[in-house]
Subunit: 370 residues, 2 copies
DNA sequence: CGGAGTTACTGTACCGGTCAAGAAAAAGAA
DNA sequence: TTCTTTTTCTTGACCGGTACAGTAACTCCG
C-alpha cells in the first residue's frame, strides 16, 4: 500500500445508518422514513420505493429493535420460564414437547421465544430481559423468577401451576387421571401399591401425608388422586419421592429402594413415563417381570410409553394442546393489555383444564398369587 | 360507594414509576437513581439505601429493559437459529441436547436464550428482535434469516455450517467420522452399501453425485467421507435422501425403499441414529435381522444408540461440547465487539473442529454369504 | 365556487434509560 | 495553609425510534 494513500481512514466503519441518515439523504423528515418501514399506507408508493432504495444502499437493516421496543412498548418476544436448570428441563421430553407446541403456536404471531435462564450473579433474565409476556411452566423450584415477572406486571400464563388471582392458567386434570390409575390397580386386586413422585426440593425418601403440603400443584393433585381411592379401599399407600434429576436413573434407584422393602409392593404408580422406565429397569435388575410380578403405571403417555416392553399403562395428557392453549392464552392477554393502554393485567383471566385419560396397556395385571 | 367519594379516580392505575419519579421523591437527580441500580460504587451506601427503599415503595422493579437496551446497546439475550420449523428442530434429540448445552454455558453470563421462530407475515424475529448475538445451528433450509442476522452485523457463531469469512464457527469432523464408518463396513466385506442422508430441500429419492452440491456443510462432508473409501475400493455407493420430517418414520420408509431393491444392500450408513432406528424397523418389517442380514451404522451416538437392540454401531460426536464451545465463542465475540466500541464484527474469528470417533457395537457384521 | 374530506408529509414531544464531563464538598498531602 | 485528590452528585446530550397533532395540497360534490 503506498504511504500517500490514507486508506486507514477508510477502514473505520461508517457510522451505523439511522432513520435520520436516510431522511437527510432523501430529503424528507425522519418520520416519513419511519412510516416507509412501519406504516406503508402513510406515504406514496413511489416515495416509499425511493426511501427503501436509499436505505438499502446505506446498509440500513430496519428499525432498531431496541429503540422500537422502547418507543412502542413491544419487544417481539415472550419468555418461557421452565426450571432453574434449563438443561434439566430440556432433557425432559414432555417439557420439550410443550415448548415445541408453544413455539409453533406463537411463531405466526411474529414473536420469538425466550428461554429464561436462572441468570448470573447480577443479571436476572426474568427481571432484565425485555419481553411482552411470559409462560410459567411447572417444575420450578426457585420462585423468585416468578416474583420478578409478576412485579413487572407482565402478562403471564401459568401452566401446571396454581395461578395467582387474576392470572390465566392452563392445567390438566391431574387429579382425575391419577384417580383412574389408582382405581385401575385396585380393581386388579393390588393391595401393596407404591407411589413414586417428584416433589419440591426433595431428595429420595419415604413421605407421609404431612409432606404433601410442600408439593407444587401437579405433584399435590396427582398424589391426592392416587391416594384417595386407595384410602377409600383401606389400602395404605407407600409414597416415595425422588429428586429432579435424570428421571430414568432416579426411577431405577427408587425402584430398587421399593423392591427391597418388605412386604414388596406389587404395583408402582409413577409420576412420569420416564420414571416408569426406570422402574422397569429396577424390576429387570431384580429379576422381576412386568406385569406378572410387578405392575407399573406411568403418567403423560409420551413416546416412551409405547417404546417400553411391555407397553406402558399410563395416564394420557395432551401436551401439544397444553402448549397451544398456553400460547393462545398468552397472546390474548398481551393483546388485551395492549388494547387497554396500561400495562395493567386486566380482563377476565381464563382457566383451562384439559382432561386426562387412563390408557391401559401391557404393564398392569393382577398381582401375583401369594 | 357514596357519590361524594370520587373513588373512581383511584382505580386508574398509578403511572408506572421511572427513575425520574423516584428521583423527585428522594430529591436527587435521575442519574443518581440510575447509579443506585447500575453502579452502586458511584454513590454513598446510605443514599443508595434510601433510594432503593423509595423505589421499592413505588413498586419500581428495576431499569426498564427496553430503555436500557437502547441506551447501553445491550439486550441481555442471544438468539439461536435452529430451523425454519422450531417444532421440527425440537423433536430432534441431538438439537435439543445442543441447545441445552448452550443454555447451560450461556446462563451464568446472565443472558437468556431466544429461539428464533420463522416469524409471521410482517415480523421476522431474526430482523426485529433485539439481541446481542446469535448462534446459527445447522439444518436450516431458509437462509434468509441468516441474511438478516448478518446484515445486522451481529456477532454470530456458526455451528455445523461453513462459516462465511470473518465469522467464528464450531464444527465436528464429519468427514473423518464418515470415512471411518464406511471403511469399517468395507473391511467387514460389504460391497452393497447404501447411504441414507438428509439433504436440503430434498424429498425421498436416489441421488447421484451431481446432487451433492446442493447439500449443506454437514451432509456434504459426511457423504464425501462415506463415499471416498468406497470409491477407492471400487464399490459404487447407493445414496438416497430423505426429507426433514420425523427421522424414525422417514428412516423406516427409506429402509423399505432400500430393502426392496435388487441387489439388496447388505449395509446402510445413516445420517443419524434416529434414521438408523427407522432402518431397524424396516429391517424388522422385512423379516431381516440386524446385523446378520443387514448391517446398520448411525451417526451422533445419541442416547438412542444404546437403546436399540442390537446396540448401534455409530459415529460419536460430543454435542454437549459443541454447545458449550459455541456459547463460549459467541460470548467472546460479543465481548470483543463491545470492547472495540463499534458493532464491527472484528477480531480473529476462531474455527473449532471437534473430533469424531467410530463406536463399533452390535449392529454391524460381515455380510451374509451369498 | 366554496366547504368537507382525503392524501401526503412535517414538527415536536416523548419512550426510559446511560454516558461523559463537570461542580461542590470532603479528605489527604505537601 | 494551600494545593491536589477523591468522593459524591448533577447537567446536558444522546440512544433510535414512534405517536399525535398539525399543515398544505388535492379531490369530491352539490
Amino acid at each position: 500500500m503506498s504511504p500517500s494513500a490514507p486508506a486507514a481512514r477508510h477502514t473505520e466503519r461508517m457510522a451505523r445508518a439511522t432513520l435520520q441518515t436516510i431522511a437527510d439523504r432523501v430529503g424528507v423528515s425522519r418520520m416519513t422514513v419511519s412510516n416507509a418501514f412501519s406504516r406503508p399506507d402513510q406515504l406514496s408508493a413511489e416515495l416509499r420505493e425511493r426511501i427503501l432504495a436509499v436505505a438499502d444502499a446505506l446498509g440500513y437493516v430496519g428499525p432498531n429493535p431496541a429503540a422500537r421496543a422502547l418507543a412502542k412498548g413491544v419487544a417481539g418476544n415472550v419468555g418461557v420460564l421452565l426450571s432453574d436448570s434449563l438443561t434439566q428441563a430440556l432433557t425432559d421430553q414432555v417439557a420439550v414437547a410443550f415448548v415445541s407446541a408453544v413455539a409453533e403456536e406463537i411463531g405466526p404471531s411474529g414473536r420469538a421465544l425466550t428461554l429464561l435462564t436462572s441468570g448470573g450473579t447480577d443479571v436476572l433474565p426474568a427481571r432484565d430481559v425485555a419481553m411482552d409476556g411470559a409462560i410459567v411452566y411447572s417444575c420450578i423450584q426457585d420462585a423468585t423468577a416468578i416474583g420478578w415477572l409478576r412485579r413487572r406486571e407482565l402478562p403471564i400464563v401459568f401452566v401446571d401451576h396454581d395461578a395467582p388471582a387474576g392470572y390465566s392458567s392452563v392445567n390438566i386434570d391431574d387429579h382425575v387421571g391419577a384417580r383412574a390409575a389408582a382405581s385401575h390397580l385396585l380393581s386388579l386386586g393390588h393391595r401393596q401399591i407404591a407411589i413414586a413422585t417428584t416433589g419440591f426440593n426433595g431428595d429420595f425418601g419415604v413421605l407421609d401425608s404431612a409432606d404433601y403440603d410442600t408439593f407444587a400443584h401437579v405433584e399435590r393433585e396427582r398424589v391426592r388422586g392416587w391416594t384417595e381411592p386407595m384410602l377409600a379401599a383401606g389400602v395404605e399407600p407407600l409414597v416415595v419421592r425422588l429428586p429432579h434429576g435424570d428421571p430414568i436413573d432416579d426411577g431405577r434407584r427408587i425402584g430398587q429402594l421399593l423392591l427391597e422393602r418388605s412386604p414388596r409392593p406389587t404395583a408402582v404408580l409413577c409420576f412420569s413415563d420416564a420414571i416408569a422406565a426406570g422402574v422397569y429397569r429396577a424390576a429387570s435388575d431384580a429379576g422381576l417381570r412386568v406385569p406378572a410380578e410387578l405392575s407399573v403405571v406411568g403418567f403423560d403417555d409420551s413416546r416412551l410409553a409405547r417404546q417400553l416392553q411391555p407397553e406402558l399403562t399410563t395416564v394420557r395428557q395432551d401436551v401439544a394442546a397444553k402448549g397451544r392453549l398456553a400460547a393462545q392464552a398468552l397472546v390474548a392477554v398481551i393483546e388485551r393489555a395492549r388494547a387497554q393502554g396500561g400495562k395493567r393485567v386486566a380482563g377476565r383471566p381464563k382457566s383451562v383444564v384439559l382432561s386426562t385419560e387412563l390408557v391401559v396397556r401391557g404393564s398392569t395385571a393382577a398381582p401375583p398369587a401369594v
